[in-house]
Amino acid sequence: MAVIKARNLTYKYPHAEAPAIRNVNLTVEEGEFILLSGPSGCGKTTLCRCFNGLIPHFYGGELEGEIWVAGLNVRETTPAELASHVGLIFQNPENQLFSLSVERDVAFGLENLGLPPEEIRRRVDWALNLVGISDLRDRAPWELSGGQQQKVAIACVLAMQPSILVFDEPTSFLDPKTAKEIFNVISELRRRLNLTILVVEHRLEALIPHATRLILMDRGEIVLDGEPRRVLLEAAEKLNFKVNIPSIVLLHRRLSGLGLLSGEPPLTVGEMAAQLGGVIKH
């Protein structure tokens, strides 16, 4: 079942000279794990803002074309209603946190849903535990480090248990090891709860082993979309300068060019090592 459907979507911010996204066509099926990348300013964040109705309801501007999320026409649905279907986690966690304690922040959205106190407590515990910050529950968000704050923001959204999670560069503030843990948790959530995940990220290598689909944007348009290995290979040819292609993919391409390797481009270091195993003399 399609959970996101965009048809000829074009959007221009108020007072902008040119559209930020142009003619975007996209169908996302339930349970997909999509990695969305592209050069700075290519329209990734703008597209994400369409999923939960921030565009057009909060930002204004001109929206052309059609977009449906969880079967709802985004134009005709309030962001508040969309929020129980789509959870958005932004680049900057500080914009999302405001309470005096971590626990209060995570409980806030749930209280607004009018859930019984027991259910709220259960979900807060569950979400804090998932991102590994149960020990921070009584701390004030503003005294935490950037990485810890982003974990709180993720817990807030997880607690709402939406069916679609959209992350806009969620690990920018996290160290790589913590980022990896978070992505493992998200991937596990998808498998267990059949969540649909869309992550905007520049560092492809950390996420690509999890993704079922890779979408690359440039200048407001989707330029490549499909199975991660195939898209990586095409991107290495066409967009190398603009996208951070994982170094093992670039190495694989060079060695293939020399006739040393013939397999598919690797998504993990383990895969690359296995391909090289047959080539290297010991």
Partner: protein
């Protein structure tokens, strides 16, 4: 030269963020401060221009104790771009944002024009000259914040996570800027999680964990030791990990190097 001697820092809530940190940043040094979230990296750089004063120990900038100077005085030499651009940006347009410190530091109008044009080009911001910084994406805002500090070329440039939200092209441009600063014997300190970028740009590395310096040395030396990286919650670059898996550990940071080594190992070098 900036010198930290046995610096402890305890926040008002009692949290000790730095424990006996000693570090010498010589003129012309390129130093990357790395380590997991909450290790004390940002607390450390806030000591470099006197925003924070040590609870114990001493920080001197060109011989001046930061306790005896104002942030305004120290900021003439030490320009810091913090992690979150929203804390720094305030002007109506990108151009004004960059012009503001230049005006403060007494640049002439023609010098200002020159510097503004230079950084707008350097940070790929020419088309946003007359836009509000707040209308830009996260990665673009970060570049505006960097442009406004880089424009006056501080003797010590301090960047907190400069590659955050940046694509390949902008990272290459940053690398070129560093080369220019190196030629002019300026000092660059950056906080980063980007192991490959630090190595590519030839930075020395100080690894921080729990407020203490865990190790320091050249990037090639420090960042190719998987055990040390593990302790600091960093991940080894893919190529370092690859050669480790192949049973031939090497400090490899570029695809070209890796290609040469593989050809050797395959007997085709």
């Amino acid at each position: 030269m900036i010198v930290l001697e046995e610096v402890d820092y305890v926040y008002p809530n009692g949290f000790q963020a730095l424990r006996g940190v000693s570090l010498t940043i010589r003129e012309g040094a390129f130093l990357a401060i790395m380590g997991r979230s909450g290790a004390g990296k940002t607390t450390l750089i806030k000591h470099l221009n006197g925003l924070l004063k040590p609870s114990r120990g001493r920080v001197t900038v060109d011989g001046v104790d930061t306790r005896k100077a104002t942030v305004a005085q120290l900021s003439r030499k030490v320009g810091i771009v913090f992690q979150n651009p929203d804390h720094q940006l305030f002007a109506e347009t990108v151009e004004e944002e960059i012009a503001f410190p230049l005006k403060n530091f007494g640049f002439t109008p023609s010098e200002m024009r020159e510097r503004i044009d230079w950084v707008l080009k350097l940070f790929n911001l020419e088309r946003y000259r007359h836009h509000s910084p707040l209308s830009l994406s996260g990665g673009e805002k970060k570049r505006v914040a960097m442009a406004s500090i880089v424009a006056w070329k501080p003797k010590y440039l301090v960047l907190d996570e400069p590659t955050l939200g940046q694509d390949r092209e902008n990272k290459l441009k940053l690398r070129k800027l560093f080369q220019e600063f190196r030629r002019e014997n300026r000092t660059v300190v950056m906080v980063t999680h980007d192991v490959e970028f630090a190595a590519e740009c030839g930075f020395d590395v100080a690894l921080l964990a729990d407020g203490k310096i865990l190790a320091s040395g050249s990037a090639r030396e420090v960042l190719s030791k998987p055990k040390l990286l593990e302790e600091a919650s960093l991940t080894a670059p893919q190529l370092v990990e690859l050669f480790l898996k192949l049973g031939s550990p090497k400090p490899v940071f570029t695809v070209e190097e890796a290609e040469r080594l593989i050809l050797n190992l395959a007997g085709r070098g």
